[in-house]
């Protein structure tokens, strides 16, 4: 473990594509260790300061990062001011100058920005690690890490021999794209059931990635109802964009599917639908949700979307500690997931 994760000291997380599959799996194991060793992790980042720059509204992601840093014993500097107004051309500072400056002050930087590619610009300008907390509709790698951590936890540490349903606006869902393409690198023998309207289907470049991955297959359907009984995992996404688009760039939800406050039953998870589902189905959602998951489902043991949030903190703790080079000496990778008979693939 140590060598794989030690190599990441001082690096950035802009896209998971820049990390090897082994590095991602080691980080997920460290996240699981963080979950069960809070006390051992509590001073790993003592004396370090993390700057958070959220140019877009965020509740869960921002607090998850801040809580992760606090649980590692570090401090958080929340950046705010006129420069956060990206439409303010008089006072707006370039991303390069701002990040270059902050990297002289803080030890690690977390950025969410509406511009696609902004995290890459930040990483190239920075002298300290930069974490992409979402760059417009482009990438949100820590959400993918949280999704993967949830899958590993609920599926016995295994990413193999699963039927995974993805439902919603798959055309615009950055988290769905990232989850599928990352699973293409980490998983084995996975079948995807892609549930969407014709207008909101998974982009061809993602389907091409599935086509190229040995042992992977997919089918596209237009309703959850006929396929729910076959699923081991159901990853729901909203039909509405969950991130704010830059000015002048509006992304439309499918009005035929999401007509005001109504959503077709073909794309909704309800207690009635779950009667036909497997007892160990795991229902994930990156949140915030729209109408696609009925609130009556929240108390169903198969609802895992709040667990995702909890595991997201663990993942971010592992990520911050890794990028700062503050790895726990006590971490024994061999026992992670051991209670579940893990065979996490490498």
């Amino acid at each position: 473990m140590a060598q794989q994760l030690e190599q990441l000291k001082g690096s950035h997380l802009v896209s998971l594509d820049e990390w090897s599959a082994e590095q991602i799996l080691h980080l997920l194991r460290l996240a699981e260790w963080m979950r069960t060793h809070r006390d051992d992790a509590s001073q790993l980042a003592a004396g370090s300061v993390m700057a958070t720059l959220f140019y877009q509204p965020s509740t869960r992601t921002r607090l998850s990062f801040e809580t992760a840093m606090l649980r590692l014993g570090g401090h958080v500097a929340e950046y705010e001011g006129r420069s956060l107004d990206t439409d303010d051309l008089v006072f707006r500072e370039t991303i390069h100058d701002l990040i270059r400056s902050l990297s002289q002050i803080d030890d690690i930087i977390v950025i969410r920005h509406p511009r696609e590619g902004s995290a890459l610009v930040a990483a190239r300008a920075s002298d300290v690690p930069v974490i992409n907390a979402g760059d417009g509709g482009h990438l949100h790698p820590t959400q993918t890490l949280a999704d993967l951590a949830t899958l590993l936890r609920l599926k016995g540490g295994k990413l193999r021999n699963l039927t995974i349903g993805l439902c919603g606006n798959l055309a615009a869902s950055r988290t769905a794209h990232s989850l599928v393409t990352t699973l293409c690198r980490l998983g084995h023998n996975l079948h995807f059931v892609l549930v969407s309207t014709r207008q909101n289907r998974m982009p061809d470049w993602v389907l091409a990635r599935l086509d190229r991955t040995p042992g992977f297959s997919y089918e596209e359907v237009d309703s959850l109802r006929p396929v729910i009984s076959s699923l081991d995992v159901l990853y729901m996404t909203s039909f509405y964009p969950t991130h704010v688009e830059p000015a002048g760039q509006a992304r439309q939800a499918s009005n035929s599917t999401t007509n005001g406050k109504r959503l077709s039953r073909d794309y909704r998870v309800t207690p009635e639908l779950l009667r036909a589902a497997k007892p160990d189905l795991a229902i994930l959602h990156p949140l915030p949700r729209g109408l696609e998951i009925d609130r009556a489902v929240d108390d169903d043991p198969r609802a895992a979307y709040f667990t995702q949030i909890s595991l997201g903190v663990d993942v971010r703790m592992a990520l911050i500690a890794t990028l700062l080079g503050k790895l726990p000496q006590q971490f024994d990778e061999s026992v992670v997931f051991a209670e579940q008979g893990s065979d996490v693939d490498e």
Binding site: T94, H96, R115, E116, G117, S118, L120, V121
Partner: protein, 177 residues
């Protein structure tokens, strides 16, 4: 004879054949016209490069991408000539010592390039798609960071070699030529 056959031919005979064997078919007649034009282009040019299979009407744009100024260099163009391969195509000749084969691969992926010496095409040059293209293609994604950070280079990377697909290094949007 098309230029793709030129290398083999040139290897065995120093004199490049200039007349295709005519038959009754229209397709061969088209090639004959093409071959004749190509040979004339090379003869007029003297030295430099001739480029075959440029999309019909695309020669001037290609010159722009190649950063060849027609007011500075000798340029010979045959436009919209009959072609068996493409129906119609442009033939382009430029009297320069070096040519940017990366740009040719990018903007005229089916083009065949021949070096011209002493008024004759002598060998072909294989263009290869470049791994990165800087400040040639502009990202059209309105949400891309390059739209608001003007100091950034416009960088596109080869995402799929088989499809010849390029994507913006920053936002991953597909290149639109």
């Amino acid at each position: 004879m098309s230029m793709s056959e030129l290398n083999a031919s040139a290897a065995t005979t120093p004199e490049v054949k200039t007349q295709a064997t005519a038959t009754a078919t229209h397709a061969v007649a088209a090639d004959e016209v093409n071959d004749l034009t190509l040979t004339r282009l090379a003869a007029v040019l003297g030295r430099g490069y001739v480029i075959e299979h440029v999309p019909a009407g695309g020669s001037l744009s290609l010159l722009n991408y190649l950063k060849i100024d027609p007011s500075e260099e000798t340029v010979v163009i045959a436009t919209n000539v009959a072609s068996r391969a493409a129906g119609h195509e442009d033939l382009l000749g430029v009297r320069v010592d070096e040519i940017d084969t990366d740009m040719l691969a990018l903007f005229a992926p089916h083009a065949i390039i021949a070096r011209v010496e002493e008024g004759k095409p002598v060998r072909t040059v294989d263009p290869v798609l470049p791994a990165r293209v800087v400040n040639t293609i502009r990202c059209v994604n309105p949400g891309c960071v390059t739209q608001t950070e003007p100091y950034l280079d416009q960088v596109f990377v080869l995402a799929d070699k088989n499809l010849g697909e390029y994507r913006c290094e920053y936002c991953s949007a597909a290149a639109q030529f």
